[in-house]
Subunit: 314 residues, 2 copies
């Protein structure tokens, strides 16, 4: 049986490529299945091992994720690679459990207002869904992790400020409901490093030796600073996307997820070995650039390259 420490080994950093899911959430034109498979394989060759690949939804709602099963199989074919996919209801979870996905992501909103607006359920009902999905998993022949991702954990586009204690209480409920791992997401990019330090510190205390996920957006330019503070506070699993793909539904044109290339550079300068070849990773940008010419790719390392006159891996 695969446990959470098999997918997220203790004592090392894990970076997760979410560009193939969160990065494509808002786009109208999206890469072909073949291009997405090539994207996964090229990032894998660069050293990436964790891929969020799609969402189990009717293809009519999100055609960009209609091929989620093929994406999962693509990751499955790569040794020691792991796939994650969203399941937003029981039907999605059942579909996910029919595949070899390594992690099913359920979303819980940090605020009642966003929970109702986004999923038409209360937060308590969202936690109940985590419990249901965990039981469905336990009764299936499959052993994917159940991940409870707490959206709007650093501030809500509807309700405004979110107290860290409120997020910690929800994280505890999710773990009690059977989640193997919890994520805290700055969905709309409100967070600053002080806030991230506070909440990540509290998560480190709550989760103790268990990993938790920090999912940051660069909507207001704080992505890398927030990631740096999260690492300082003990976070060891961070999300990012190639070229910072992904946006913000409440700020059209805004920057998206933390840029993976810059996140790798950050980790390496801080002494965390990522196992990722930055030049090879940067080269993968050509795939989304060619497939989605209308999308802007962000990131500074991709422009400047790593320093050439020093051994930049500290």
């Amino acid at each position: 049986m695969t446990g959470v420490l098999d997918i997220y080994p203790a004592g090392r950093i894990t970076l997760r490529e979410v560009g193939l899911r969160d990065g494509l959430q808002l786009v109208k034109n999206f890469p072909s299945t073949q291009a997405k498979q090539e994207w996964i394989r090229c990032e894998y060759a660069a050293g990436m091992r964790h891929f969020e690949v799609g969402s189990f939804l009717p293809a009519s709602r999100m055609p960009q994720f209609a091929d989620v099963r093929e994406m999962i199989e693509t990751v499955e074919a790569l040794p020691s690679a792991f796939s994650m996919a969203l399941a937003l209801n029981e039907r999605g979870a059942a579909d996910a459990l029919a595949t070899g996905v390594n992690e099913i992501v359920c979303v819980v909103s940090a605020t009642e207002e966003h929970s109702q607006a986004n999923a038409r359920r209360t937060r308590a009902e969202a936690v109940d869904l985590v419990r249901t999905v965990a039981r469905m998993r336990d009764g299936s022949g499959r052993r994917p992790l159940i991940n409870a991702g707490i959206a709007m954990a650093f501030g809500c586009s509807i309700a405004g400020a979110v107290a860290p204690a409120q997020v910690i209480a929800l994280a505890e409920q999710c773990l009690e409901a059977g989640a193997d791992i919890v994520g805290i997401a700055d969905t709309v990019g409100f967070a600053g490093p002080r806030q991230v330090g506070e909440l990540a510190g509290a998560m480190t205390r709550l989760c103790d030796a268990r990993p938790y996920i920090v999912h940051l957006h660069d909507t207001r330019g704080m992505g890398i600073a927030n990631a740096s503070t999260a690492l300082d506070a003990g976070a060891r699993v961070l999300d990012g996307s190639l070229g910072g793909l992904g946006g913000c539904p409440f700020a059209p044109g805004a920057t998206g997820n933390v840029v993976m290339e810059d996140l790798v550079y950050l980790c390496e300068t801080k002494g965390f070995r990522t196992g990722i070849d930055l030049d090879a990773l940067t080269a993968v940008r050509e795939i989304p650039a060619a497939e989605m010419p209308q999308e802007q790719l962000f990131g500074a390392v991709a422009r400047a390259g790593p320093p050439r006159t020093i051994v930049w891996r500290s």
Copy 2:
């Protein structure tokens, strides 16, 4: 007489707009004198008080700074605003002392290799120039601060890694030579937050109650993370440029100085009051955008705006 604490008051943060100097250092087309004056006045109206406005060099070498005297006068006309300008030799210092500039910036390289390549002098000769300029100031009727800016303080495009102890020793020499204030500059954007924390911490201990300047570039996406760490380590004077103007002579097309708009947002989320109106500051981007359509303006806050559903000033 104006002292260093008149220009950089203790117990509060000072952000300095260097876009009109460092931001224009590498451009071929530059704004008109009138547009630069408007830029200064609009940023002043947004709350900015410190402006690096040019360099005292023959106009034939750097035509973008031919109007440095008018820029200084523009700042002089604004109550409680301060101007800084570079002087790279005795002649430049003499020219600067004939104006009402509030601060003369001398540049000292952290490495012997860059000092020779950039200024054709040894580091010891660069420190001697600081001493000479301080004496020239003392013998003049003017009282500008003498600022010794240490270039390549976080790594050198020629010599590679730079030890913090080497920078601290140079900073001590500059202070002993008569500099009122020292700056540490990540000229080519090699720094990561761990390194910034180490060097800024050592500068905080060296300078004690005296301010020092942290000048960061976003060449590899670490600008805001580095600024955040510098603030944590006690730095209280930080440089930035509107839209991240400025580049890197060794990485064509690279991002430039830390984006001022994002830096303001960072400071406010950390509880440092900047006195700067972020919406008004962001609106000033229209001036360089109109005058230099070929230059890319960076920054995430300018795309997304500050959060609208929370009081984002913490």
